[in-house]
């Protein structure tokens, strides 16, 4: 056996990651690989930084190759090691820390650097770029304490950064040099719609804004424009473009112009050195999108495998914006020129704009805003240079219309030709996806991602891939198939709960043993879930495992950022009195509680209580007749009410009284996630019942019962479940709804998600159409409440779990006494 030749890679981004993945795909790699990564981490999906910034994904979600992957393939990864020199004669590279490595072949993948505007103040603290995870972390950190963000640059990255920072609660201003946003990808009309959408999201956009200077002493405080305007800024994100990182290559004497020059074989001017990614210049073009980089990577992998004929001849690219709720697609050339024609469709009411640019009966440019469903189809026609003469009359209406196929998205996918591109990032066609599904017997989205890469990069074609799964597998495709509960098991929530019931498992160790948990005692994700499933399955039998509960539920208060706690006593239906308020005022004085706040759930929050003070605070509150408000629990929080017929001239029922009855019925119960109710006395809805988990709207002669509202990360109006005539019925329904949710809801799934998953019709059939089943559920709920409807504060004041509240040893007390 001959010794393996050595491949050294400089950079560990998505492009070299793809080279190695392709190279090692069939285990026969004849290369020993050493990677030097200037970033201190593994290969992650840089395209998905925007969802990380907006909070929709975490770093873990976007890792492409974890540590195990490198180990499996025997690849050496030097993290946080920047290469500072290449010696082409000796065929070695040298790192910042002095590490020297020799190579047979070198792959340069140094990527690109963000362009920094050469203005005064550009080096002030608080000025960041948007390039890697460190930048995202810096922005997330800033968003926690700072208020005003200014993003310089209204291109793809700038707008994604703006939307992310807005989602993190900052006020955001986008400064853009050109008259319309994303002018390289969009025409003026689509740019205008995008600007309007940004404003609708409360993101301020200033176009034709030329940055003059960044102002501030110790940190950035404002951005000054050429016209003299100053915009306050605690954080400035520069997203004005990127430039290829080719300095290292240039120093090594390789041919460099704008980027590091490569030929169609992806070789630099030194044939022992390949280059890939954003640092590269190929046929005069530099690319910043992932699809062309992946095409380059495939060519290099083939070359390394010995296929000298492999070549890369350039890419036609398309763009999508990854801002949730903004649908935008563009490809090709859409400037107005002699000899070009255009077809435009506008629907002002729905903010839809579609424009196709044609030349010689072929599509050369596509801009879609608002409805991008036909993007891949148009893009395919563009790339194939298809003559569209026959389609022309209805072309703009899209594929469904063109083939006079039924207006069914499934049929549209089914009608696509095999070579139609599904995943632009990875260059995966419909035929490749279907072939993988049928030949490898794939049944889940994740499998398709693992085997074909389709929808694994930016994810915007996920819907298409799911439709292909459905179309290929027919009835047997279940889009909700097995999402493991956590890394400790391959089973999903549903299966775990069913097995707990079926096998009569009554303790966490029993579940872990019977269901073959992969870790010795679970993790912080599965343990609270298992504890809940056991608790709700076996009332009175299962012994609550407090060590598997989050701290808030262990000490019955909400942990705050400084390790202190907040205390919220229950105020039934939002009603209080002088005695209670006096007791609250007294504990605030007695225990030096720094903040007293009125909550959205109509009660009072005492913030900044030291853990050691929790028991005496509760004892005092108990003495005034108050109990835990469970503001910390996955259980009943509040029942918000209006004053109803007691006082209101519009009130139709005693909404306050009903609210109090509901709260007394439900309090203390554990549910999959928090449970918030409201009862409002008339359809004016002052108690905001229609965005609650369960909402009751009083009307003349009865009550409308609603479920499935939300007013958090998602805002959702409730669905009407039914109409009833009496308070007693409302109470029975509330108990039955809660019990059904307790039994079917997955841990950390709110009522609206549960309802969407199982279907409102199914819930109606169980609760409304079937009185016996409703009554049985209400009875089961009442049974479990026997064990849970009590005040956890009083129990702890009497001594339960004392160890949770006191230090094991506290010398500071002794010292104080001395």
């Amino acid at each position: 056996m001959t010794a393996k030749k050595k491949l050294v890679v400089i950079g560990n981004g998505m492009a070299p990651g793809r080279v190695l993945e392709t190279l090692y795909a069939d285990d026969s790699a004849a290369w020993e690989t050493v990677i030097f990564n200037a970033e201190p981490r593994v290969n992650y999906n840089r395209i998905m930084l925007s969802p990380v910034l907006s909070g929709e994904k975490s770093y873990d979600d976007i890792i492409i190759h974890d540590e195990t992957w490198y180990q499996t393939h025997n690849i050496t990864l030097h993290k946080g090691q920047k290469i500072t020199a290449i010696d082409r004669a000796a065929q070695t590279v040298t790192s910042e820390s002095g590490l020297v490595e020799s190579y047979d072949r070198l792959l340069i993948a140094t990527g690109s650097s963000p362009f920094i505007l050469p203005v005064p103040g550009k080096d002030l603290p608080g000025v960041v770029t948007y390039r890697d995870l460190d930048d995202v972390n810096a922005m997330l950190e800033a968003a926690k304490t700072q208020k005003h963000a200014v993003v310089i640059g209204g291109g793809l990255l700038g707008l994604e950064a703006a939307a992310g920072l807005k989602a993190q609660g900052m006020t955001v201003t986008v400064l853009h040099l050109m008259p319309t946003l994303m002018e390289r990808q969009l025409d003026a009309s689509a740019g205008y719609l995008l600007e309007r959408e940004m404003r609708r999201r409360d993101i301020d956009v200033i176009t034709k804004a030329n940055t003059h200077a960044l102002l501030g002493e110790d940190k950035v405080e404002a951005v000054k424009l050429d016209d003299g305007r100053e915009i306050p800024a605690d954080l400035v994100v520069m997203a004005v473009g990127i430039r290829p990182n080719a300095a290292l290559a240039k120093e090594a004497g390789l041919a460099v112009q704008r980027g590091l020059i490569v030929n169609d074989q992806m070789e630099t001017s030194d044939p022992k050195i390949f280059a890939v990614g954003e640092c590269v210049e190929h046929r005069g073009l530099c690319y910043g999108l992932v699809a062309p980089l992946y095409e380059m990577a495939t060519t290099i992998a083939s070359q390394l495998k010995g296929d000298k004929s492999a070549s890369y001849t350039g890419s036609v690219t398309s763009t999508k914006l990854k801002v949730t709720g903004v649908d935008l697609f563009s490809a090709g050339d859409f400037a107005e020129e002699e000899g070009r024609e255009e077809i435009v469709l506008r629907d002002a009411a729905q903010s839809i704009y579609k424009r196709l640019v044609l030349k010689d009966n072929k599509i050369i440019g596509v801009v879609l805003y608002g409805d991008t469903g036909d993007g891949p189809w148009f893009f395919q026609l563009l790339k194939d240079q298809t003559d569209i003469s026959d389609l022309r009359e209805t072309l703009i209406f899209g594929q469904n219309f063109a083939g006079s196929a039924p207006l069914d998205p499934m049929a549209a996918v089914a009608a696509l030709p095999d070579e139609a591109e599904i995943c632009g990032c990875n260059g995966i066609s419909k035929g490749m996806v279907v072939q993988a599904i049928t030949e490898k017997g794939l049944t889940r989205l994740d499998d398709v991602r693992a085997h074909t890469k389709a929808s694994s990069s930016c994810g915007s074609c996920t819907g298409q891939v799911e439709k292909l799964l459905a179309a290929t597998l027919g009835q047997s495709y279940n889009p909700n198939a097995v999402k493991p509960l956590c890394g400790c098991t391959d089973l999903d929530h549903e299966t775990v709960r069913q097995e707990i019931f079926a096998q009569k498992l009554t303790s966490i160790p029993a579940v872990m043993q019977a269901l073959e948990w992969k870790s010795s005692c679970g993790c912080a994700k599965c343990r609270p879930a298992l504890n809940y499933y056991l608790l709700s399955s076996w009332p009175g039998i299962y012994e609550d495992d407090y060590q598997s509960r989050f701290i808030n539920e262990r000490v019955h208060a909400n942990i705050q950022k400084d390790g202190t706690f907040s205390v919220v006593p229950r105020m039934w239906g939002g009603i209080t009195n002088a005695n209670e308020l006096r007791a609250i005022a007294d504990v605030v004085d007695k225990y030096n509680i720094p903040t007293v706040k009125v909550t959205g759930g109509q009660r009072i929050d005492l913030l900044g209580v030291k853990k050691e003070d929790l028991l005496p605070v509760w004892a005092d509150l108990n003495a005034a007749g108050m109990v835990s408000g469970h503001a910390y629990s996955k259980g009943l929080r509040t029942v918000k009410t209006c004053v109803g017929t007691d006082w209101c001239r519009f009130g139709t029922q005693d909404s306050t009284g009903l609210g109090i009855k509901l709260e007394k019925l439900l309090w203390g119960s554990w549910t999959p996630h928090k449970l918030k109710l409201a009862v409002t006395g008339c359809p004016r809805n002052c108690a905001e019942a229609t965005c609650k988990d369960i909402g009751v709207v009083c009307i003349d002669g009865g009550y409308d019962i609603h479920i499935g509202g939300a007013a958090g990360m998602q805002v959702r109006e409730t669905d009407l479940l039914c109409h009833v005539k009496s308070e007693a019925e409302v109470l029975e329904y509330a108990a039955a709804i809660t019990q059904l949710y307790r039994r079917q809801g997955h841990y950390l799934e709110r009522i609206y998600k549960w309802s969407q998953r199982v279907g409102l019709d199914v819930i109606k059939a169980t609760l409304v159409d079937d009185a016996k089943s409703r009554q049985a559920l209400a009875a089961d709920f009442e049974y479990s409440q026997k064990f849970d409807r009590h005040d956890p504060w009083a129990e702890r004041v009497q001594g339960k779990h004392r160890h949770q509240f006191t230090p094991l040893r506290d010398d500071t007390v002794l010292e104080a006494a001395e």
Partner: protein
């Protein structure tokens, strides 16, 4: 380095710490978290997550690790290091059991040790 007997401090009974749980100890100006894991092992570390100083004593204990209650960093109790992609380290202290009593070692650097460290 030899461990000096006078630097061992008696903290309490082993069973005062719940299994898969932790207790807080305030001693010599430090705040420590003492853990007792499922397999009965004992660990003492600074009661402050390297991320945002979250009180690790309040985390969920699993294996030889604790998940910080503030932002879910997972800290290895053996090394004090953050696991996964998070980076940071919390100081750890040696523990031992003497007839059911838990003791921890708090180094008071001797002149020799200080020179070695300096």
């Amino acid at each position: 380095m030899t461990l000096l007997e006078q630097n061992w401090h008696d903290i309490g009974a082993e069973t005062d710490i719940p299994l898969r749980g932790a207790r807080c100890v305030k001693i010599e100006g430090r705040t420590l978290a003492i853990f007792r894991t499922m397999d009965g092992s004992l660990f003492a570390i600074d009661d402050a997550c390297p991320h945002k100083k979250g009180p690790l004593r309040d985390g969920i204990v699993h294996g030889h690790a604790v998940t910080c209650p503030l932002h879910n960093w997972v800290i290895n109790l053996e090394t004090g290091e953050a696991q996964g992609e998070d980076h940071g380290k919390t100081a750890t202290y040696q523990t031992r059991l003497q007839q059911g009593r838990l003791q921890i070692y708090l180094p008071k650097p001797t002149g020799q040790e200080m020179r070695a460290a300096g």
